[in-house]
């Protein structure tokens, strides 16, 4: 990266640079394991755009659904940079070091809120980004564009609960009606949200979370949660080998369990908690213009539909749904029937309270 001093960097920024240096060094070191360093000059030819990506199947699906057709259509070369740290912290490190590992990536909605709160993102250029569902709250945000999405949903083994499984978080808590080991994500969400919903709080009254009430409700099923899963693939394994027979999973993983692993897992969409992931451009990214063009392409109906078929992440552009094969579409969290009984997580709440809530939750978990 040759020109790494964005325009109006002030002295105070310099200090951040020095302080952040040590950790940033570690972060960017981890991140910098893919993609060549050559970023081609900006003025000649269509140039490049560097995309931060999670690696593995995810990157392969992005390549098929987005990058390859985008390159064919525009001539702009898409370089992928694999990283396990696609989040606000990585963008903070770019800001601190002036070393931009990538120009665009998709981050979780909570991370987006953190980055927005700190002013680390470029505004989306809506003269360039024109594709997609213009419903603003659905897909278009000031500093990002939603592409795929995921929901925390209630799941159960249909071979265990033959006459119907849990249909609400209250049912997940009801060990009498639905006995068996449970799985939950080892994370404050959706555990705390689920606990309050189980306690009778309505989705619109959920935030700010009543932590005391939530943890008290969690106490009630502490011994019935056999697995606090750490990763999506672990949750698939747990439900496949019956170490848990009900609980909550990420919708894409549950769909994959069902369609790929052929596990008899059923999803109850009621009270599912919806979270989009959002494509963003770090402030000062060298290829920001090409990044906007790529975002415009990815937000479109057909590329998103293709990506959804490959990964089971629901498209935030609802015009994508008719392009998805019916068996997969039924298990998409954004299919109309499924989406209508869910609600969206309050990402602003989480971004602003994550540290304190995580600490309370971890204290509860380990005690």
């Amino acid at each position: 990266m040759s020109h790494h001093t964005p325009h109006d960097r002030r002295v105070s920024r310099r200090e951040t640079l020095q302080l952040g240096g040590a950790l940033a060094l570690g972060l960017t070191g981890l991140a910098g394991c893919g993609g060549g360093g050559s970023s081609g000059g900006g003025s000649k030819g269509p140039g490049v755009v560097r995309v931060g990506t999670w690696g593995g199947d995810y990157t392969a699906a992005q390549r098929k659904a987005y990058f390859a057709p985008f390159e064919a259509q525009t001539g702009i070369k898409v370089e992928t940079v694999e990283s396990a740290n696609l989040n606000a912290a990585a963008i903070k490190a770019f800001e601190a070091t002036g070393n931009f590992q990538w120009d665009v990536t998709d981050i979780a909605a909570g991370e987006y809120q953190t980055a927005v709160d700190h002013g680390w993102l470029e505004s989306i250029d809506y003269d360039v980004v024109k594709a997609g569902d213009k419903t603003p709250e659905r897909q278009f945000k000031q500093y990002g564009v939603c592409a795929e999405s995921i929901s925390d949903v209630i799941v159960y083994r249909s071979d265990v609960f033959r006459s119907g499984g849990p249909r609400s978080w209250a049912d997940v808590w009801d060990t009498g009606a639905f006995p068996g080991p449970r799985l939950l994500w080892k994370n404050p969400y959706p555990a705390l949200e689920g606990a309050l919903l189980a306690d009778g709080v309505a989705p619109q009254d959920l935030y700010p979370l009543d932590l005391d009430r939530a943890l008290k409700r969690l106490d009630a099923i502490k011994d019935d949660v056999a697995v606090w899963f750490e990763s999506g693939s672990q949750s698939q394994q747990v439900i496949a080998n019956k170490n848990a027979v009900l609980g909550s999973m990420w919708s894409g993983r549950a769909a994959q369990s069902r369609l790929v692993d052929k596990v008899p897992v059923e999803i109850s969409w009621n009270q599912g908690i919806y979270t989009p992931s959002i494509y963003v451009v770090p402030k000062g990214a060298p290829n920001a213009v090409n990044a906007m063009k790529l975002i415009d392409f990815m937000a479109g109906a057909k590329p998103l539909a293709r990506f959804a078929e490959l990964t089971f992440y629901g498209p935030t552009n609802l015009k994508s749904l008719p392009h998805i094969d019916p068996a997969t579409r039924k298990l998409m969290n954004t299919d109309e029937a499924n989406l209508s009984v869910q609600f969206e997580r309050d990402h602003a709440y989480w971004a602003r309270n994550l540290d304190a809530v995580t600490e309370r939750f971890t204290a509860w978990l380990t005690s």
Binding site: A22, L23, L27, A90, K186, V227
Partner: protein, 281 residues
């Protein structure tokens, strides 16, 4: 030793320069950040000790790591002894059994344990067939310890093997021929000579164990949260680098204190004595 004295500074200079850039400088920055981000002062440390959860997680980390180290030593010593004292075929077999998992990806091994220890896995099925109710082996402390021991065992065996290989077997035979029973010959002749390997193996296994994250997180239960997991959470999720730095500094200090205590009790310099002997060859 005397001849090397002049050459020594030149010989170690490149390594020191390397360490200065990749270790000492970032470490100094980390320490600094723990006192300055987000505010200057002791706030990060005050919060760390006031909240209780971090001390608890640190204790869990040290306790489980100690347990893993002890089990590795109990399992590794006979293995290394067998490899060091038996002929080619047995030695090759033992070393291969230890090394092959070492070359396999950590995640693959961890997932393999989820299958083996799972509710419908081979161990549960076997116990089931015999009519014994299988205990919960996964997603609790047993799972975490089993998975970690499996990962760390090669480090222990190789540390011990390197030292045992150099122990002269005729000394043991001499002790026996002078009338020492097998147990006594082992305790007084063999064991003391292998202590450098024990020290090296214990330190290596313990220090690596306290930095674990993935294995206890995937195989352990809700209580098997390691301090590294909380550090990572503060770096990448809640973006509190000053607090993450403070956690790292406390972990480093506790580790150094434990190593110093170990040195006081058993003498870590015995490990370096082994290094000197190897240097002679």
């Amino acid at each position: 030793m005397t001849r090397g004295r002049l050459a020594t500074p030149l010989l170690v200079a490149p390594a020191l320069a390397f360490l200065a850039v990749v270790l000492f400088y970032p470490l100094a920055r980390t320490v600094e950040q723990s006192f300055t981000d987000p505010t200057t002062g002791l706030e990060n440390y005050r919060h760390l000790f006031a909240s209780g959860v971090y001390v608890r997680v640190l204790l869990t980390t040290l306790l489980v790591s100690g347990l893993v180290t002890g089990i590795c030593l109990l399992l590794g010593y006979p293995l290394a002894y067998t490899a060091a004292t038996r002929g080619g075929g047995v030695r090759a077999l033992v070393l291969a059994a230890v090394m092959i998992p070492f070359w396999t990806s950590l995640l693959v091994r961890t997932y393999a344990w989820q299958v083996i220890l799972g509710r419908e896995g081979p161990i549960a099925s076997l116990l089931d067939a015999v009519g014994v109710a299988a205990p919960q082996l996964l997603y609790n402390r047993i799972g975490a310890v089993v998975g970690m021991v499996y990962v760390m065992l090669p480090f222990m065996v190789l540390s011990l093997y390197a030292v045992m290989r150099d122990v002269d077997p005729s000394l043991l035979r001499a002790a026996r021929s002078l009338g020492a029973p097998a147990g006594r010959a082992f305790r007084h002749v063999y064991l003391p000579q292998t202590l450098p390997g024990v020290t090296g193996g214990v330190l290596l296994v313990f220090v690596i164990s306290i930095g674990f994250y993935v294995t206890p997180a995937l195989l352990g239960g809700r209580k098997e949260v390691f301090i590294a997991e909380l550090i990572q959470m503060n770096v990448t999720e809640t973006v509190q680098w000053g607090f993450a730095s403070a956690l790292g500094v406390v972990l480093l200090l506790v580790t150094l204190a434990l190593l110093a205590a170990y040195d006081r009790l058993l003498g870590a310099e015995s490990m370096f004595a082994a290094g000197r002997r190897e240097g002679r060859a």
